[in-house]
Amino acid sequence: MTFGSVGQESVRTADGAAVSVGGSPMSAPSEQPFIGLETRGAHAWFGNHHALTDVSLKFPERTVTGLIGPSGCGKSTFIRLLNRMHEFIPGAAMAGQVLLNGKDIYAPEEDPAFVRLKIGMVFQKPNPFPAMTIRENVLAGIKLAHLDRDDHDSIVESCLTRAGLWKEVKDRLDASGGSLSGGQQQRLCIARSLAVEPEVLLMDEPCSALDPASTLRIEETIKELAEKITVVIVTHNMQQASRVSDYCAFFLTDGGPGYLVEADNTRKMFTNPADPRTADYVQGKFG
């Protein structure tokens, strides 16, 4: 389905029932936003376990999309499908399409390393490289992916600034990345992802291990990032979803594979969702 689309669309759920999504016209932008990333009928399996079924979702460029839903509903699986990290899990399988600028990233001729260069990822647990300094951490992607860039100093400064970390670490760029606090480490990981200039940044519960102040800093960072790139964020925190995201997608599971219930403008999802289950979830009645 398309965010901001007018009229009814339907999504097949696990039990085959058609769920009405999309809903009534909302504060849709007058012009159709450019869609950089899109999934069509995406499924995911781990061995025989069908983890995610039939998700079709579009991510308008330069927006923040929040993926919400209870634990085990396939949000993290879905986000890992988007940059081909899913395939590292032994026994993993998928179906459907993930399109970046109209090209299927799972097409045989696509290079997964190049896909991940275009679609970066920030993980739940901060994971700076412990053997590298702060500066080397930021530049790690450029070295790892063999990018030909020579303005290293300005890359370090601009990426750390965009990640909201520059002021705190500019005097100790040669300290180990592990010497930072948890929140600073996570912002270092964001800076590291930005250094390779991705078009899309995926964030899998980036704040779940952090204190409220660090969370707030990262949320500010996310909003600033969305001026230039597309951000997809998985979160368990309803307030966070309502604060940072422009669009929200609600996933659910009935014991079987996870599926997409509805996706819409964030304000509408939180005030007047089309599906009663979404209303119950965002109001904290379950999950």
Partner: protein, 350 residues
């Protein structure tokens, strides 16, 4: 204003360790242990039990019995706690004892033949029966270092690469590689020597240092490889994922992220490998043999080594020869200790 009370002068507090044992307590238990040591010494002197080991075991028994006796006045909970902690400490000491005993005898017997120049002279013009102030172990040190260095240079890359294959690539042959590495670890060292004798020595037509190094490599590889695998397994998958998510290929992630993270662990793998082979005697007798004089060319002719030096002098069997053999063993031990220390320092640096 608030319910928080400030102490009159917040700067007055001095750092203390309320959990530490009081000094008088420490003094009393030290005295008790010293008394037990003296009693043990007396017992050893009067009963003629075997030297240092006998003394240590007697001390252990005395401490255990004394603890049993004194603990009778304590409550049952305290008694159990005391008995368990004393037994655990005592058993740990017991495990430590053989090593301490070896060190003790090597040092006490090995220092006799040491003299200035022992490390820099060879045995070319000195017979094993000459005065201990003549001759030296220099040729054996050089030969050992040359062969172990070659074996390390050959083994480290192979061991690390096989570790990477087993943990990072996880190819179809993982099972086979692991099986072969484990089997190699069980190969008796003399078999490795025979193998190199029939292949390298027979082909070259002469004994040589390079053949010795080859035999040592065969023995060193499984140790390095298995340790490297264990160390690489400790790298969290988070770091690999982070590398892949930055658009890195698997081999670049392995070499630029995973390996630097466990640098000190890989150095430990090398240390363990060196420790495994530097004292090997049997394979060298079949490959590099031994010399009496300095030799520096590993590609032709026999090469001395510390284990063969010690072995041949022990076989000679006279008083001075045996004293020289002990000194050779002492030098070997000091060299291993020195290599360990250097490698640890290098590994910790950053």
């Amino acid at each position: 204003m608030s319910t928080v009370e400030q102490s009159s002068n917040p700067m007055e507090a001095t750092p203390q360790k309320p959990w530490a044992r009081r000094p008088d307590e420490v003094r009393r238990s030290t005295l008790k242990l010293a008394a037990a040591a003296v009693v043990a010494l007396v017992v050893v002197l009067f009963t003629g039990m075997a030297g240092f080991d006998g003394w240590a075991i007697t001390l252990l028994v005395i401490v255990l019995v004394a603890t049993l006796v004194t603990s009778r006045s304590l409550s049952s909970k305290d008694r159990k706690n005391l008995l368990v902690s004393v037994s655990i400490t005592a058993l740990a000491m017991l495990a430590f004892l053989p090593w301490l005993s070896i060190l003790f005898s090597v040092v006490t017997k090995g220092y006799q033949a040491l003299h200035v120049g022992y490390l820099f002279n060879d045995m070319r013009v000195t017979t094993p029966d000459d005065e201990l102030s003549m001759g030296g172990v220099g040729h054996a040190i050089v030969g050992s270092l040359i062969m172990v260095a070659i074996a390390t240079v050959v083994t480290m890359p192979l061991g690390i690469l096989s570790g990477i294959y087993l943990t990072e690539v996880r190819g179809r042959l993982t099972f086979l590689v692991r099986f072969i590495v484990q089997s190699m670890a069980g190969v008796p060292s003399i078999v490795a020597g025979l193998f190199v004798y029939t292949t390298v020595v027979r082909t070259m037509g002469e004994y040589s240092g390079i053949a010795g190094a080859a035999a040592l490599s065969v023995l060193m590889l499984p140790t390095v490889s298995r340790t490297a695998e264990e160390v690489l397994k400790l790298v969290p998958d988070d770091l690999r994922s982070a590398g892949y998510a930055l658009g890195a290929r698997q081999w670049r992630t392995a070499f630029m992220v995973v390996l630097p993270t466990v640098k000190s662990g890989l150095i430990t793998a090398g240390i363990l490998g060196v420790a495994r082979v530097i004292g090997e005697t049997a394979p060298l007798l079949l490959t590099s043999l031994a010399t009496n004089g300095f030799a520096f060319n590993p590609f032709s002719g026999t090469l001395g080594s510390l284990p063969t030096y010690t072995f041949s002098l022990l076989q000679y069997g006279t008083e001075y020869a045996v004293a020289r053999a002990w000194s050779g063993a002492l030098v070997l031990m000091v060299i291993v200790f020195g290599l360990f220390t250097i490698a640890r320092r290098v590994g910790r640096k950053k």
